[in-house]
Assembly symmetry: C2
Homo-oligomer: 215 residues x 2
Amino acid sequence: MATLINPKVSFKAQMLLAREDAIIASVNRLLAEKGFEAMTVDEVAADVGIAKASLYKHFPSKEDLAAAAMVSVMRRAQAFLDALSPESSAVEKLRTVVQWTMGLKLAGEMPSLPSQNSSLRSTLMANKDYMQGLMDVSDRLGAWIESAQAEGELNPKLPAIAVLYTLYARACDPVLEFLKIGDLYSNEEIIALVLSTCFDGLAARSCLPTVMRLT
Amino acid sequence: MATLINPKVSFKAQMLLAREDAIIASVNRLLAEKGFEAMTVDEVAADVGIAKASLYKHFPSKEDLAAAAMVSVMRRAQAFLDALSPESSAVEKLRTVVQWTMGLKLAGEMPSLPSQNSSLRSTLMANKDYMQGLMDVSDRLGAWIESAQAEGELNPKLPAIAVLYTLYARACDPVLEFLKIGDLYSNEEIIALVLSTCFDGLAARSCLPTVMRLT
DNA sequence: GTCTATAGGAGGATAGAC
DNA sequence: GTCTATCCTCCTATAGAC
């Protein structure tokens, strides 16, 4: 290990990474809480407990801060996909992933970025870590979607890309926060509800006795 | 008519209203295009073709501009509900309404506001026209939802409020813009797709031969 | 790399003449 | 009510000492 060869350098490097992790954690939380535009760099610095100028030594711009948070989330997603049981069917894997993203959202750990901001989009698209993660996740989800369609578990008439977008969209579904504000249902009930409407729709399924996961 | 009694005052009043309508139209378009935070008051003024200070004679703040746009949309929604054929079933009415809101969104006429901004929320909640319109629309949709559930057209196990939120959410569904950017489908196809996933879900309906409205 | 202090600029809102 | 000109706050980003 490098630690044994040059412990001092490695220690510094570890401190550096730890600090950057702390920064990313703060950014992640603030992005989830207030969104990109409402989050200020001063706020992030105060939350981390360092000076704003120090922040800019780690990340060159506010956009790059947000991108780092997205990369972090993407890595967590990849780890989650890795850990999914190989025995479960494609559609079960998809359900589990959506469930997980909605849990993140309800826990205030899902950063929300405006899809319109162009400078942010540029930064994200120029970030290889982010783009690679996004591609990887999309490819894996896409393969499961096609499997599930072939197995008759998902509607095969829907374009796979539309299904993919629909699943991604659950991670920023306003229905989640509205139901949470209403305070009538627990987080688990909310997730079960939205998961049900996502996969089974709002319409009654007259012949399929789909079990509600609510009670 | 007041015009016959005092034409001068009425003319002025009509000019005033016409100008305010022009302002609201600009705000509406800009809100749909860039969102609340990215829209600047300077931009609105330039778009309308008046000075910024004049704008502030009509509306006391940026938040009130957005609120006026929302009131306008709410009125259009009420008019649309009024015009729905009384012969159609409750679920058909709901489908038609959702279809209409998605059409607005795709046409760039659906203002998008951040649900997090608190000063904006305050302004909206203090706006009686907006709140009354929202209540009215929600009541009417809510009644149809309950009818449709009683008629076995919508899943009766879903809380009506969750169904209502889910329908509202289609008006700001990011899936719409993503599919539009992909440029593979026409607006009508996109609407049919999202309408299908909304009501019928992503899962295959093994026994109900639900017709895809795509082809 | 961390700090204090500040540049630089965007944007919401207003003053005051007409 | 409309204009021009301006205020003032907030925010991103940087300079420069340590």
